[in-house]
């Protein structure tokens, strides 16, 4: 790898640290939802995709089955596959490097890489790897800190941890609400999920809204 240009390095590092720090919220939320410290850390190490991780702990924490938790998390992970499609022609890696690249293909590594386009393809590669590894390191360290912190705190409600979880979901959702279709879909999904909670087994009210999203997507075909 040639010398890393300083703007690329700065972009990667600042994104890595800021995003990695959210790991505290995840670690704490995971423990508050009944996951052990080990399980919380394994999710960050192995799943390594924020929205999916929050979904697993959210669904299981609400009493949902493992299947609906996995399904919800997986639907949120599809976008990482799409990022891979974008990154493959830029990275041009094979073998073990490709296996590693796949693991660190997330919102941030793809985002920083694509934002380096004006600096050339080498900067795009460096942005991807630096951000991918940077977020990985900070996200995992902060997850451990958050999980241990929450364990030491005891009653999650007394510290507001049970409200931190929906707030984290809202923070992930907010920037995605662009068009009026997006906002309408969000409102319908929220109403559907709450309204069906007394009747459906836990987890289904959440995963069921994916069907609403698919219908909305099909209806939008012009």
């Amino acid at each position: 790898m040639s010398r890393v240009s300083s703007p690329t390095f700065r972009d990667s590092l600042s994104v890595s640290f800021t995003v990695g720090a959210y790991g505290v919220a995840f670690g704490a939320a995971a423990v508050a939802n009944g996951f052990s410290v080990l399980q919380s850390c394994l999710l960050s190490l192995l799943t390594f995709s924020g929205a999916s991780q929050f979904a697993v702990i959210g669904v299981i924490g609400a009493g949902g089955s493992a299947i609906s938790a996995i399904a919800t998390a997986s639907l949120l992970g599809i976008r990482n596959g799409l990022y891979g499609v974008l990154m493959t022609p830029i990275l041009r890696v094979r073998g073990i490097k490709r296996l590693v690249a796949a693991h660190v293909t997330i919102d941030e590594s793809t985002g920083v890489s694509l934002s380096q386009e004006s600096r050339g393809v080498e900067a795009m590669r460096q942005g991807f790897w630096l951000t991918g590894f940077g977020v990985f390191i900070f996200w995992n360290l902060f997850t451990l800190a958050g999980a241990l912190g929450a364990k030491a705190m005891g009653d999650p409600s007394a510290w507001g941890l049970d409200a931190a979880v929906p707030a984290a979901f809202l923070g992930l959702l907010w920037p995605r609400l662009k068009s009026s279709t997006d906002k309408l879909l969000a409102i319908i999904a929220a109403i559907f999920a709450v309204a069906t909670t007394p009747f459906l087994p836990a987890g289904l009210p959440i995963i069921g809204t994916a069907v609403i999203a698919i219908i909305a997507g099909l209806r939008n075909v012009k």
């Binding site: 399980q39 799943t47 990482n80 596959g81 507001g160 707030a167 999904a189 909670t197 959440i206």
Partner: protein, 102 residues
């Protein structure tokens, strides 16, 4: 194995599978316009459902408590264009105050 472990392992395996598929399947399959559009909408529906369920339900019943107050604080923070950590912290703080003192 309980739901927690199955959730941890199952999610991790599928998450990696999805990431790897992007680096290996033919581009035309994953970049189909319909797949792209639905893929933008699914997170909106799921995240919104998660916000709602985590704020106003407990097990199988609808409950309004300190969490909803915390969520209100999060919405105010977002409207004021606060960053993610500030949003989460204001929700936690407000909810904790309400839980402990009311």
């Amino acid at each position: 194995m309980d739901a927690f472990w199955i959730g941890v392992i199952g999610t991790s395996v599928i998450a990696y599978g999805l990431k790897f598929s992007g680096h290996s399947v033919p581009e035309k399959f994953l970049s189909h316009p319909l797949i792209k559009r639905i893929n933008l909408l699914i997170p909106i529906a799921l995240l919104s459902a998660l916000v709602a369920v985590q704020s106003v339900t407990t097990k199988n019943s609808i409950v309004t408590d300190h969490r909803l107050v915390g969520l209100g604080a999060a919405i105010v923070a977002l409207l004021l264009k606060a960053s993610f950590p500030v949003v989460v912290l204001s929700a936690a703080l407000t909810s904790a105050l309400f839980y402990n003192f009311f």
